[in-house]
Symmetry: D2
Subunit: 307 residues, 4 copies
């Protein structure tokens, strides 16, 4: 099999390597040509294209073009350009973290040109190249069937870790929910380790507990494996700032909960904890402190202190 991979960053580059190692030929394109050339120099089965048009020309119909470009503008622009180069029967896979509603739009847009669209949610992070990726795929059965050789290589094992979960949109929807669950699990652990760490009387070592819980406990999990690694080296985390980024999927999951009337208190609390970490103004707390002063005469701290 032979496919084009657009976007050779942390995710796309490693996926290209895993594909090549698994016998798939990859035509790589990247915004900066050097990245594609370096990758092509590294692997026999990877070649570099200077433009998307070249990447498409390097394939034989029916083509498969897999995009790992950032969701939003970059992906939008690529899809628009691809409609000019591809032919009916070709397949475009979006493996980025797109909003599933946009993927539904993209499916319709490409479908108007007779091009098949597949939305593939990809989980695995920096570990995927070695351990394989979890692939949540949305699209027609026929299109996903044609993609199968690549999916079998990218997944942890040929028959495990990839699946067509539904029609176009279902792939990114499932990935969105996956990330929502991930937020909740992460926050559950964060609260638990905070409780352990705060209990000075017991002088518990969070790193020891993380390692302990990996064996035989109910909470054993891959996230815990990772935590045992880094907490074992540094449980205090003094060099890490208490600031947590959030990504689209977490927000979209809460929006989905609201739109569909599904109570999601844990997934939402996890998102809000990140918002809290990002909030440098503290307006809510200022207002509460001022209001306590107003009704109870309680002292407030002056503004500079907590900043």
């Amino acid at each position: 099999m032979r496919l084009a991979m657009l976007g050779l960053g942390r995710m796309g580059g490693n996926m290209a390597r895993r594909l090549a190692a698994g016998g798939i030929e990859v035509v790589g394109w990247n915004r900066s040509r050097e990245t594609a050339d370096a990758l092509a120099a590294e692997w026999d089965r990877i070649s570099a294209a200077g433009t998307m048009a070249e990447a498409v020309e390097a394939l034989t119909p029916p083509r498969v073009v897999w995009s790992m470009l950032p969701a939003g503008e970059a992906t939008e622009a690529a899809l628009m350009e691809l409609t000019r180069h591809l032919e009916p029967g070709d397949i475009v896979v979006d493996g980025g973290n797109a909003d599933y509603r946009e993927s539904l739009d993209h499916g319709r847009l490409l479908g108007d040109s007779g091009i098949e669209f597949i939305d593939a949610g990809v989980s695995g992070g920096v570990w995927g190249r070695e351990e394989g990726y979890c692939l949540m795929v949305g699209g027609t059965e026929a299109a996903v069937g044609r993609l199968e050789p690549a999916l079998r290589v990218l997944a942890p094992a040929p028959d495990r870790g990839w699946a067509r979960v539904g029609p176009v949109g279902a792939g990114h929807f499932t990935k969105m929910v996956h990330n929502g669950v991930e937020y909740g699990m992460m926050q559950a652990f964060a609260e638990g380790f905070d409780l352990l760490e705060r209990k000075e009387a017991f002088a518990i070592d969070p790193g020891q507990v993380a390692e302990l819980w990996r064996h035989g406990s109910v909470v054993r999990s891959w996230l815990l494996d990772l935590m045992a690694d880094f907490l074992g080296e540094d449980a205090r985390l003094d060099d890490i700032a208490p600031w947590v980024a959030d990504s689209g999927e977490g927000r979209w999951t809460v929006r989905e909960a609201v739109d569909s009337g599904v109570p999601a208190p844990v997934l939402t609390a996890a998102l809000y904890a990140r918002f809290q970490s990002q909030d440098e103004r503290g307006y809510q707390a200022r207002l509460l402190a001022r209001l306590r002063q107003a009704f109870g005469g309680h002292a407030v701290r002056q503004g500079g202190e907590a900043e």
Copy 2:
């Protein structure tokens, strides 16, 4: 009527003044004698006692001793001492913010000496002296009946704003729930005004909106009246630190929810928002940032930034 008031701080001092203004004679005792003397000099109907024993001696059985001492050690010590000076048939009122479980203990302790115990939850803050206090009273009907002349003066009106809500313990229990609700209402407003303030495109003035909502809206309330006052003067609150104290009642309310199996997501979220404002370590956020780095290679901010 004549009663002793123990503790003449912000709450006790103003209550003594309101009682005196309403025709009740008050024997005041305070840890620092000067406060009692100053109050006695201010009001004809207030006299100062140098010791609790003197305060008790200045009354005629059956006596009424009202404590506005801080909950915890100060109240415990006072109750123990009062058991030595009082006689069966006397009444002790605890108007402080005690845990209702402790008040149940106190009722039993004093009851062993034949002394009646009344737990009176008092709301009203610094405004109570002028506007009257809301009094949630627990105790026997007979005891509360004897306290009625004082309750009628302390309340906003003789027949409104005070009530016997149940047996001993019920007063502080009701006050605890009151404060829990107060936490929830305050946080609801804090979130709402934060949303308004953050919406730069509309340049909404939170002070104007607070004043506006006071008239005809569903959220009109005394807390809103206070907010309209101070937000009208300074809506940015830049001089107030984003640090909010919490008191026993908020924590006890959540403990009660947990013990009784009542879901209380709003009251608890309000308490946790205050904990968050007090948290200077940010361990949870550090852990999350580190974990994101571990699985996804995401950048973390270095430790010094957010402190």
Copy 3:
């Protein structure tokens, strides 16, 4: 002043009455003609129009047309039709509970025809006719200035309870946040009264406490006034089903929190509590019960029981 009122349901009908009582002439239109005729028969200053076109014709430019139609399709259709009948310089007011983003669109749509758009969030419910409405108004200063005679009549007092809070969109935005705060306050009270009601040992009467808290307490508010009324008559609420509707504003407020990165745990918990009351499937709880069985051998209840 003379204006047209479109939609004479619970809100629009009462607003027309209050306007008429205050000296404003109203041309009323309603989907069902009978409602308009009945209202016109009731009040001298109200006349009935059979079509929107007739309502517009009954006014002299520059006209004011106030819509109290339901948000969504009915409002959309009315605005489209009005663009055909109105002229540059006329004003359309949308007093319904529209999403502020749609109001921004409506402002642009009408602006293309030279028609001024005002979005007016209206609070007050069934009590507004007697007590006056709280009006949160978005639009240009000039347009709102022309609407002022009507606003002064609708509000609780000529100079209070109405305000221009910002440009087009700001009115419905402020109303959205108002309702979010309302959700949070309501849920805070619901949790508090549940805690009181569940404490069997004290046999506390929620109706008595609601009335008590109205006087001098920190939580006194209009919502509490209403609760004191109905809890005083029936504190058990056995005839009310535990099912709570939610409206657009609650959902939009949470969406706004998510979009703007403002943590809103209380407003969101209040929304989710309503979702929970609406959930007849209980899938989350079924999954948890099954999972506990799977890892711990814990018994589950059979399906029929809890339905």
Copy 4:
């Protein structure tokens, strides 16, 4: 090594079997003698004792007595009785799910008689017999050192899955936090699968997704393994009632969060979701529905419907 095991129910019985299979001799006692006899008949290395005194007598000092009795009264009574039969230098292990504060008391109580106390949090459920248990152990280093042969057998591997995490109390504290995290993780998955299941347009199969996520995804975990098993067989769960029990540890974790000022929104939301599932009265929802009716004239459903 030889030890006595008190309580041979689901947990204690399987632990006795795993110990015996690993070469440890076990003297078993159970409230109902038949259970002990049956276990002794099953395994050479297990013998049955008719009373706790007999169990103690069957051991040679310094003895090890491991209790797997239910926390609370049964454990309290056993510890009191053991103080009468044991001698200084003997060890009592409490492997039940006790409140760590009680374990601190138990440590002091037994310490007064010179008996060593070890609190061992045990995770692993019905799978522990085959896969081994995770053991979080609190006690002196010397005492835990003497228990090591048994811990090595009970754990999944001799050097993994057990650890002394701190002094007496630290074992049950760590187990409490473990279960709190477990609650949070479970609820995160429950919300996620609810979102998937509710999205009718995609007809996603939760069982397929659970199996898919097990391979290469960020949320892979033992809980997910279990879910993949049972959702694969029955994703609808129609025969399971939406009623979820909660245990002491979940409540204690929230109490700990409140006492120590650690915000724990996710762990608490998970507990409250269970409370919600247990609530058959729906008082909060009734109150909200009634209040909406009072201010907005909104219809309520009659009481019988939702029960």
